[in-house]
Amino acid sequence: MKRNARIAESWCDYLDPVPTRGLTPGVMIRQGGGGRAGRVGAWTMVLVAVALLATPARTRATTMATMPTEAQAVAADRIFVGTVLSVVSQPKADRPKYFETVVRWYVEETVAGTPKQTVTTTFSGGEVGGVRQRVDGMPEIRIGERYVVMLAADQDPPLVSPLIGFNQGLYRVDGVSRAETVVHDRNGRSLAGSVMPAAARGRGGDPTLDDFLAALRAARAK
């Protein structure tokens, strides 16, 4: 009666469902027979194919499929190491039936972009008056915690989560002295090898903050 799924062979061909806007079939099928136009057509096809294959799978729920950390770094508008100064849930000003959670960060170190000394981010959902509105997968951030934060560019209307990859561009920083400070996932667990920046993998275990940031900078420099 039950329907246990079989082992998947590959992720490479997962492109389903597809966006209704963005990459268009018209671009993909544009090919020429020869000469300059033909070469441009072939290269366009190659680039589009590569772009499609590199597109992360879409999720069925609230989060994006696993996005390599380097890709997060490249896509981020701002990256910084920050400490949570405050976390405040409140009704949204324009839709008071809905809650939002405003997180204020003290920026200790900037990796990319030009964040101010304090940065304010807003997430959908929150807890007000004994009632919680929850979007599954939304990070739970607490005062005093330190993170490497990767923010998407501001949008209008704002994103449900300002983090790159909904919840992925957030890494817990644990430790006191700089040399011993390591980076974990957003829940404080060891980083999976699959999401750890390549340059920080060599040492095994949890990457140090320095190695992690160096890997992010290297990814953006490519």
Partner: protein, 304 residues
């Protein structure tokens, strides 16, 4: 020249595949039976026991919004097909949770995204119910609303599902997406975000395309087992009176959970399970009674 171009294209595709593979995408293995996770009401993002549920073990849903002009979706069929696929998603859960939980199709008109009507509205949108943007790769979102403190802590009040109109779905992927979202409505979370990354419906991303073997359309055994933990029996009083964590037995843990509820701390308690003396609020007296029951001492069991 044409052949060279083909070779070049194939080489680039192979490189792209290799790169994608190296990114560490999961293998999506067959799931062990404990591949499930629960929505948390407290600080533990991956609680071992259910913390959020519908107290009556039933909820009304409305898929008819897909026929509205502004809430349609490309589900590879007409509006009626989208509605039927949405209902098929709940039918799958209902069949698997027979006698435990029931999704009930609506009979009266609902307001879309109403946060207080206790009904699950389902429709296509360009933005979430709260007006924010989905982001580039999010297919659908369930906004769950529940009590987070007090004697009703953990009781769901409302849930609404929005499907991103930016995407075109196959019929199978659309049904699976909604079955996944209805799993959130039940109180299930993403097991892959709790160190259990296997090929189940509640995985945060599908492992397979909808036309491939191994694509998960309906709840797997593991998904169902998770839901069964939340809803062990049918009726307005799910679980044994005093069995705060719905483990099937009354233990010291249940006593602690009841005492936490009495102190208005996060807890897996509901009044139906933890108001042991049936006097209304969950009190220290209820906690003591649960601890007595855990020690096989006699108590009067009067849960509402």
């Amino acid at each position: 020249m044409t052949q060279l171009r083909r070779i070049l294209v194939l080489a680039m595709l192979a490189l792209a595949c290799a790169r994608f593979g190296q990114a560490g995408e999961p293998e999506c293995l067959d799931p062990p039976d404990d591949t499930f996770a629960f929505i948390n009401s407290g600080n533990d993002s991956c609680p071992a026991n259910p913390e959020v549920s519908w107290p009556a073990a039933t909820v009304t849903y409305d898929c008819d919004f897909f026929t509205d002009d502004d809430k349609g979706i490309n589900c590879s069929g007409d509006d009626a097909t989208c509605v039927n696929l949405c209902r098929a998603a709940t039918d799958a859960w209902n069949a698997d949770l027979l006698g435990r939980f029931t999704f009930v199709n609506h009979t009266d008109p609902d307001d879309f995204c109403d946060t207080e009507d206790g009904r699950v509205s389902v429709g296509g949108t360009a933005k979430l119910c709260d007006g924010s943007s989905f982001g580039s790769n999010v297919l659908a979102v369930t906004l769950s609303i529940f009590f987070s403190a007090g004697p009703q802590a953990g009781q769901l009040i409302d849930a609404n599902i929005t499907v991103n109109q930016r995407f075109a779905f196959t019929q199978a992927s659309f049904q699976a997406t909604l079955a996944h979202e209805f799993g959130h409505v039940l109180g299930l979370s993403h097991p892959d975000q709790c160190d259990k990354d296997f090929n189940v419906l509640m995985r945060s991303a599908s492992c397979k395309r909808s036309n491939e073997a191994g694509f998960v359309l309906d709840p797997t055994d593991a998904d169902v087992k998770g839901a069964e933990r939340i809803y062990p029996v049918v009726g307005p009083t799910p679980g044994i009176c005093g069995d705060a964590d719905l483990s099937g037995a009354i233990t010291v843990t249940d006593g602690v959970q009841t005492l936490r509820a009495a102190a208005e701390l996060s807890s897996s308690c509901t009044a139906a399970r933890c108001d042991v003396d049936g006097n209304g609020p969950i009190t220290v007296s209820d906690g003591v009674n649960v601890l007595r029951a855990a020690a096989d001492l006699p108590i009067t069991s009067n849960c509402p």
